[in-house]
Amino acid sequence: MPEPRPANEVVVLTAEQMSRTITRIAHEILEKNPGEENLAVVGIHTRGAFLGSRIHRLICQVGGRQYAAGNLDISFYRDDVSARGAVGVIPATPQPVVKDSDLPFTIDGIRVVLVDDVLYTGRTIRAAIDALFDYGRPAAVQLAVLVDRGHRELPIRPDYVGKNLPTAPRERISVRVEERDGVDEVVLVRSKEA
């Protein structure tokens, strides 16, 4: 018996919808980059890496050739490395364990599709672009996200969107993937005190 879903969670995408959405994104990537051989899919740790590898598998299948793929950890590029000195200031978000970045190809001249699960303030993507450029000079960078929840704080816009989901800042979008969470789904979590 699965545990009952908490009352403050609403499913936004089921496993089936998620799978269809990812397939659509893969097709859009191929459509927007016709005949492009130098295409690479780079997922942003953690959930973006899993989504990225699924998209990569699909575009290889549909496109009929082997495209490059990789992962990026942006921890060292964050803009909220804690401010010490001011008493009581804690990092805006907890500093997670850093995963290894893995880009097993030369990035120069490649069209890179960055993949992340949720697009929110845009700060993660800013950091990812900075990280990418320390590996080389890509020909172009495009962005694919499963959910765009709005509230951008930087001039960043996705090229491929799974689902646009207007949210309140107090709400949270939780993307769960089979590989890590045992289930494929996107849920909207309402803050309990709201």
Binding site: Y77, V81, R84, P91, Q95, D100, V118, D130, Y135
Partner: protein, 313 residues
């Protein structure tokens, strides 16, 4: 967030140690690419104070800070106001005027880092204080072991051989090795064995009879500079070398040799081992960079593991 010092290995929990080692591992790809630099500590100021000679430690701290994009300032005793009689406290107050985030210090007196820490807002990292502690050496040793001998170091038998009495590396290593579940045996002449060291939970031996039991041989040099003139610790270096020096002839296959450097060829280590690719000595130096990057990074961002609650930006 209160400031976090790293003065002794005891300042770290086992989880902290593992977090540092994991973080160091994630810096390795950065060190392999063309642009070997990340912007993480951009705008931070790190001061390196080396009141004692150092090649490995000072160069790797300096490079580690630069790889993290921090600004660095290096001071040595010679040529500084220390020669004019300035006390450590006053040096600390003076340098604090620059609002450094971290001060890395090596000092000939045990406990000097605590004095420094009490007189500055900056986090203090001990790069070796007298005969007391050298925690960053211990962490890089652990990193080298983990990279070469497997992630789980529990049960590994390490023999630390040489001048234990004057060695801050030994004091840090004993604690760190035991923290990760290793068995530590100390070997050396009785005159260079600190009295009561067994209370740290180590075995003590005065000859190499049981050397075959060791998985790792951790060699220490005789610290001539800490032995006062006229002190009679050893009849001669040649006799020491005959009794405790490690050459290929004394090794069994599979045993790995480590050494914090600088080595004294022909004394504690024979050239046939120093020049052998199987030893971990060069890897230890390599590890120093990634591990010190991890230590500087963790000192600024904190040790908490926020993976469970990591909200996306």
């Amino acid at each position: 967030m209160p400031k976090r010092d790293l003065i002794s290995i005891e300042d770290l929990s086992r989880a902290d140690v593992e977090l540092i080692l994991d973080t160091a591992e994630s810096f390795l790809p950065v060190l392999e690419r063309d642009i070997k630099k990340v912007p993480t500590l951009r705008g931070r100021t790190i001061i390196n104070l080396f009141w004692e000679a150092s090649t490995r430690t000072s160069s790797s701290f300096d490079l580690a800070a630069k790889r993290l994009s921090a600004d660095t300032l290096a001071l040595k005793a010679s040529g500084s106001a220390v020669e004019k009689g300035e006390t450590l406290k006053d040096t600390a107050i003076t340098l604090s005027a620059y609002s450094p985030d971290i001060i890395v210090m090596r000092h000939p007196s045990a406990g000097a880092c605590r004095t420094l820490s009490a007189n500055t807002e900056a986090s203090v990292i001990n790069a070796g204080d007298g005969k007391h502690q050298h925690p960053t050496q211990c962490l890089l040793d652990l990193f080298s072991m983990r990279q070469n001998l497997g992630r789980d170091l529990a049960g590994l038998r390490v023999f630390i051989i040489g001048d234990i009495l004057h060695s801050r590396v030994a004091r840090s290593d004993i604690m760190g090795f035991q923290m990760l579940g290793m068995e530590v045996t100390l070997v050396g002449p009785p005159t260079l064995m600190p009295r009561g060291i067994e209370e740290m939970g180590v075995k003590v031996e005065y000859d190499l009879a049981n050397l075959k039991d060791a998985d790792v041989l951790y060699l220490l040099r005789i610290q001539k500079e800490r032995i006062k003139a006229g002190a009679n610790f050893l009849p001669s270096l040649r006799e020491y070398s005959e009794l405790y020096g490690i050459s290929q002839a004394r090794l069994r296959p599979g045993q790995r040799v480590m050494h914090p450097g600088p080595i004294n060829r022909g004394v504690e280590i024979a050239s046939d081992i120093a020049d052998d690719d199987e030893n971990l000595i060069a890897h230890q130096v390599f590890s120093g960079l990634a591990v010190r990057m991890a230590i500087l990074y963790r000192t600024i961002v904190g040790y908490s593991d926020g993976a469970a609650s990591g909200e996306v930006l």
